[in-house]
Subunit: 348 residues, 2 copies
C-alpha cells in the first residue's frame, strides 16, 4: 500500500527469486542478480524495513529473507501483472493435451489432471451445480422381481438413476403410463418446482403410485445434492515434487485433507460467487488449515449461469503468474466444452 517504488521493486525481486530458488534470499545475492544501483548495505536496510512492515521474514538470524503470507498477498495484488509477458505461457498451453471426455465424469477427471499437469499442483474441480437444471424425462424400468430402476433425466443431459423395490402388481405398462404422466406434468420445470409439484400431487394422488412419487421426489433431490457434492482431485502427486513437502508429516496431513473431500468442497464453494480468479494464500483460508499451501481458484460456466468451481492447491511458493494463467485457461476451456455440450446444440 504505502510502499515507494524502490521498496516495491525489492519486494518483487525477493519474492521472484524465492519462488524460483526456494531458499532464503540475502542482500548480496540480490544486488548481484538485479541492478538496483545501490549497495548490499542499502538493500539490507530496505529489507529490514520490509520486514518491519510485515512483508518479509527471517527463518533465523543469519539467513536471507523469505516472503510472509502478507508479502505474497501484496505480490499477488499489486506486483504481478497477469496480462503482459504471457506469450510463453500461451505457447506452453498450446502443447497441452486436449480434453475429450464425452461423459461428464470423465471430463471432470481429465480436467483435474489437466490442471495438475500444467500447474504442478493438485487440480481440484467441483462438479457443476445443477440448480438451474430443468426436468426433462423420467423412466421406470422393471428389473428382476420387485426391483425397479428410476432414471431421471434433466434438460442438460444429467442422468441420475436409483434402484427401488416396489409392489410386484405394478406392471411395466403401468410404469410407462405413469412416466408419461409425469413427463407431461413436469416438463420444463425447475427441480425445485418439480419437488413442490410432487408434494402437491402426493396429497391428491391414488395410493398405487404413492411410493413411486415419493421415490421420484427423492431422486430429484439426489440429482442436486449428489452431483453437487462431487469433487474431483487429480494429480495430487504433483505436489510431492515440491521440496516443501519433503517433510513426511506434512505430506501425510495433506493427503488426509484430500481424502476429506467434503472440506475441500466447502472451501471451494466459498469462492463460487465471485467472478474471476482468486488466490488464497497460506493461512488465509479458514477451512483448509494447511500451513504453506495456497489455492488458486476460478469458476467455469455452462451457459449463462455460474455452475462450478475449479482450481489448484499447491505450495505457497508456487509460480503464481503461470498458475493463474493455467486456471484461467482451464476455466475458459471447460466453459467452452460444457457450453458446446449443454447449450449450443442448436448452432452446430
Amino acid at each position: 500500500m504505502d510502499l515507494d517504488d524502490r521498496n516495491k521493486k525489492v519486494l518483487q525481486a525477493v519474492i521472484d527469486s524465492y519462488i524460483a530458488s526456494g531458499s532464503p534470499i540475502g542482500s548480496t545475492v540480490l544486488v548481484k542478480r538485479f541492478d538496483f544501483g545501490v549497495s548490499s548495505a542499502t538493500l539490507r536496510n530496505i529489507m529490514a524495513d520490509l520486514e518491519e512492515m510485515g512483508y518479509l521474514t527471517h527463518p533465523h538470524t543469519s539467513a536471507g529473507r523469505i516472503p510472509t503470507d502478507l508479502g505474497y498477498r501484496y505480490y499477488i495484488d499489486s506486483l504481478i501483472s497477469v496480462e503482459n509477458d504471457s506469450e510463453d505461457i500461451e505457447e506452453h498451453l498450446q502443447q497441452a493435451p486436449q480434453l475429450h471426455g464425452d461423459d461428464l465424469q470423465e471430463l471432470m477427471e481429465e480436467a483435474s489432471r489437466f490442471l495438475a499437469t500444467l500447474s504442478h499442483c493438485a487440480g481440484v474441480i467441483v462438479a457443476p451445480s445443477e440448480s438451474e437444471a430443468a426436468y426433462r424425462h423420467i423412466e421406470f424400468v422393471r428389473l428382476r422381481g420387485r426391483q425397479v430402476l428410476i432414471i431421471f433425466v434433466t434438460s442438460n443431459g444429467i442422468v441420475q438413476n436409483k434402484l427401488i423395490d416396489i409392489d410386484e402388481s405394478i406392471r411395466q405398462q403401468d410404469l410407462n403410463g405413469f412416466s408419461a404422466y409425469l413427463d407431461e406434468e413436469l416438463e420444463h420445470r425447475s427441480l425445485a418446482e418439480v419437488r413442490q409439484q410432487l408434494i402437491d400431487k402426493m396429497k391428491e394422488e391414488k395410493l398405487v403410485f404413492m411410493q413411486l412419487m415419493d421415490e421420484t421426489y427423492r431422486a430429484s433431490q439426489d440429482v442436486q445434492e449428489r452431483e453437487n457434492e462431487k469433487v474431483y482431485i487429480g494429480g495430487a502427486s504433483q505436489m510431492l515434487e515440491s521440496p516443501e513437502f519433503a517433510n513426511v508429516e506434512k505430506m501425510r496431513a495433506l493427503f488426509k485433507a484430500f481424502e476429506d473431500k467434503y472440506k475441500l468442497l466447502k472451501l471451494l464453494d466459498r469462492s463460487v460467487s465471485a467472478q474471476g480468479i482468486k488466490v488464497f494464500i497460506g493461512s488465509e483460508n479458514p477451512y483448509f488449515e494447511m500451513q504453506g499451501c495456497s489455492m488458486v481458484v476460478g469458476n467455469y460456466n455452462a451457459g449463462s449461469n455460474v455452475v462450478g468451481t475449479l482450481g489448484v492447491i499447491g505450495p505457497t511458493r508456487m509460480q503464481y503468474k503461470q498458475v493463474i494463467h493455467v486456471v484461467d485457461y482451464t476455466a475458459k476451456l471447460l466453459t467452452k466444452l460444457l457450453g458446446e455440450r449443454f447449450q449450443r446444440g442448436l448452432d452446430r
Copy 2:
C-alpha cells in the same frame, strides 16, 4: 518346505516380531520374548541356517534378522492359520462402519475406504465386470436442438448414458418407436449378442435409424469397457502411517503408481480367475514393481458369476492375518450387498 518344527517356530517368531516391531530381530530379543528352551547362541545358529536357506536376511553385519520375500511367502503359505484365533478380529469387524451406498459407484467408494480403514493399507476395488449382463432397455431422450441422450440399461441395473447429435427431423415419437422396437428385438440377450444383432440389423435397416443403431452399438460397448476400467482407490493415506514410507521418494513413487489406475487394473485382473484370497509379496508381482509392497486380493460376486476383484496394497510388513480377514470379510460383504441389489429382488 523342508523345515523341521523348531526352524518353523523360529521363523514364525522372527516374522511375527518383525511385523509387530518393524525393526530387525536379534537372537537375544527372541530368546527373551519366546521360550524356545535354547540359548541365544543356538538361536543364532538356527537363524544362520534360515538365512542360508533364503528365508531371512541381514540389513548389515551387526543387525538382527528380517524376513526376505521368500520368508514371507513361506509364512503366508505354511505358518499362519487364518481360521483360528479370529475372535478378536471378528469383534473388530463388528464395530466396522456399515456400507449403505445405494448407488453402485458410491458403494464402491465406500467399500474401498472400508478396506483401507480396517487394514491400514490402501483399499482397491475393481468395479464388477458386466460381461454377463443382459440387455434390458434403451431410451432415447431428445434434449435441446440436435442433441439426444441415449440411456442404456442392463438387467442388473447398470445405467450407461451417452450424448449424441442427430438429425433434427427425427422426432421424440420416432425415437420412442425405435426404442420399443429395439427392446423387443434385444430383450434378455447378452451384450455380445446385442452387438452382433445390431451389426446384422444395420445391414438391412432403413437409413434414418442407421446412426442411432451405430451409437447404440457403441453404447453397448461402453457399458462393458468403461465400467470394467473403473478402479476405486480409497484411503491411500493409510499407507503413509507405516514407517517404511517415511522415505519421500518411495511415497512419491507409490502415489504416482496409484494415479496410473490402468496398471493397477491389469494387476488385479490377473487374479480374478482364482477363488479365495491371494497374497502377492514384494517383487512377486510383475506389474507393480514397487519394492516393499504386498497385495492381498480377493474376489467378490454378484450372483453366481465372478464379477469383481478387490484387495489392499500395503507395506510388505503388514499384519497379514488380520488383513486377509478383512479382505475376506469385505469380499463377502460386498457379495451379499450386490446380491441383494441385483439378484435376489424376488425373495425380499
